[in-house]
Symmetry: C2
Subunit: 374 residues, 2 copies
């Protein structure tokens, strides 16, 4: 029984990732694949180790291209519908690691058009402004400005559109409807949009690796069908699980509810309040019961945030898990661990965020054309 | 009985223009309307006088805007699927006259993307090359380079896309399907494209007048629904009949058959041959019968080309009509009249075409933005 729905624009029910691997036809990030990635990178990444990146398509092809000296490039993105929350940071931090380990070029696409098409309230000016906010968060993660190019759809359409047009010509209305479930009342911007999300895959000749939330997979299933017809390799993907909302494992972070997520723009007091009041707890009904039975880390959002993002050290994380599951650590103490780490991360992040010179990162059409001619 | 079909991409059967006025909900260019246009322009145009421009939408609003000093701008275009033939020149020549009489700015859109989406053989490089060929023909008609801006979709998408996106958000899939008859196998580029043909209507705040072949009307029916939602006046239209192919009143000019049309790139020998061999004649079975009954100018393509385009002088045209219908003038003589005029026009046109500095005419995004800020 599939009792959950996951599309680029909708998430309902608790996602069963094993079922999703089957339903989408993904390859699981199993032990041997993790080993090959670790070997190629010369290092482990805790998000891979812990199954935050749980599936892939053709990652082996990317590693082979790297091994043979043909290389690859990285592409990820963001639909700027609001401020950046920690769920968004997962694939970006991983992209940053890929750049550092493999010395690769990274393209980051801000789909201000998509979020305009999809929203009943946001104007193009709103999504353009949010795109710049999100771009700051991305650049602040430490990307190399010489090898990192931030694309804004409405600004950089001159470069994207000829690529998108080649994709769009190969996608029929019925294919798009089947992939995304468009109805008669879907606007034609949304219908076309998937071609624009495909376009950055064609920016370079070589293979591309895309770290992404698994909800974005349907777009690239289409791209993978089309790319070979255009003389390009199929884009490779590595999928992360969706970070739960503060409300619990079945909840999601929603721009409509500021208490559903922690944003990079939240002040320390807000972070403290949100985690204390709103982070779903795996603790028991009272302290006695908790001491006796221990907490449930599988549903505890504070623990999951530490695991997914804020505590890279396995030994420390293991200590926390053991303390909480054995009942020695109470919910308030677990929350305090998260608050300290989030506050520390955000303080440093906000300083970098304000220092970022976005001019160094914006996609430059002339630089791009010059580079492609060489 | 409607036994003809006319869409932006298809024409079947003999078009009944009276029925088309009803079917599309157009306003006929009747005597009073022609009078108002003549009065505002301070001059007549033979294409209006003769019903080549046979219908309109809101032309009265444009003339009122001109009278009140608010002005208007002009927009027309071309889908670059082949070289320019004389059917294409009709709305362009009229746009040139509007610029001269009203001192207005003219935008010309070359939809290289549309023709790529629609064709099974043309690449984007092909349509971009044809766009430049067509641009030469347009500019050679004598437009003022300071007030005339040639847009190429794939080149100027940076300026067009934010406007197109606002339109696209207001057009549902079912509306687009109803307007254009898209099937499940239509590609998503075609589905989105109508928003791009709308976009130039939004380049300026004021009202726009669009001279166009009546087959393009469905695009602007959608634009007219959407524009007021975006704070713009409905675009006004003035429609010309479709020029028949050389094969006769029911035939069309087709890129697939070079003998179906006269192109601006045809040498004098080709013009001579095409008209003599391929121009459908309204003459009789033999000379005796022709002398007795006279020719039929209603179906004679040579006469129709003179009427639509090549003989602006009513008295001379009337002399030709009278001569042919009375049987005094034979088909060969009528064809010779056309050959002389086409050859003369094309010789001068080709010289201007080669002298054109397209750099003066290409849409300049920076110039446009500067102008809009003022």
């Amino acid at each position: 029984m599939d009792d959950f729905v996951l599309t680029p624009w909708e998430s309902r029910g608790r996602i069963d990732y094993n079922r999703l691997v089957e339903r989408f036809g993904l390859r699981p990030m199993d032990g041997p694949m993790k080993g090959r990635l670790r070997e190629a990178a010369g290092q482990d990444h805790y998000m891979v180790r812990r199954g935050v990146f749980f599936a892939h398509r053709d990652l082996d092809m990317i590693l082979e291209s790297h091994r043979s000296g043909d290389g690859f490039f990285v592409y990820t993105g963001r639909g700027p519908s609001g401020q950046t929350h920690i769920g968004h940071l997962v694939p970006w931090v991983f992209a940053r690691w890929l750049q550092e380990r493999f010395g690769v070029r990274v393209y980051f696409q801000l789909t201000d058009d998509e979020k305009f098409y999809h929203s009943s309230t946001l104007t193009l000016e709103d999504t353009a402004r949010l795109a710049e906010e999100n771009a700051r968060d991305f650049a602040a993660l430490g990307f190399d400005p010489l090898k990192t190019h931030i694309i804004r759809d409405t600004v950089d359409m001159g470069a994207l559109y000829p690529l998108a047009a080649r994709v769009a010509k190969r996608i029929t209305l019925s294919t798009a409807r089947a992939a995304f479930g468009f109805g008669n009342d879907t606007n034609i911007g949304m219908v076309f949009y998937t071609a624009l999300q495909s376009a950055p895959c064609l920016l370079e000749e070589g293979p591309v690796l895309i770290p992404l939330g698994v909800d974005q997979d349907p777009h690239f299933r289409l791209t993978r069908d089309v790319a070979p017809l255009l003389g390009h390799p199929k884009p490779a993907l590595i999928h992360n699980i969706m970070a739960p909302g503060l409300g619990g494992p079945d909840s999601k972070m929603s721009a409509a509810d500021p208490n559903s997520a922690i944003y990079t723009t939240d002040e320390p007091a807000a972070i403290n309040r949100k985690i204390k009041r709103h982070a779903f707890s795996g603790g028991r009904a009272d302290i006695d019961e908790h001491r006796r039975l221990g907490g449930d880390t599988a549903v505890d959002v504070s623990y999951q945030y530490l695991r997914m993002f804020f505590e890279p050290d396995d030994a420390i994380l293991e200590g926390i898990r053991d303390g909480y599951e054995s009942g020695r650590m109470l919910t308030g103490e677990l929350k305090q661990e998260l608050i300290e780490r989030v506050t520390g991360f955000m303080e440093a992040h906000r300083a970098r965020r304000e220092d970022v010179d976005l001019g160094e990162f914006w996609f430059d059409h002339d630089e791009y054309k010059g580079r492609m001619r060489r």
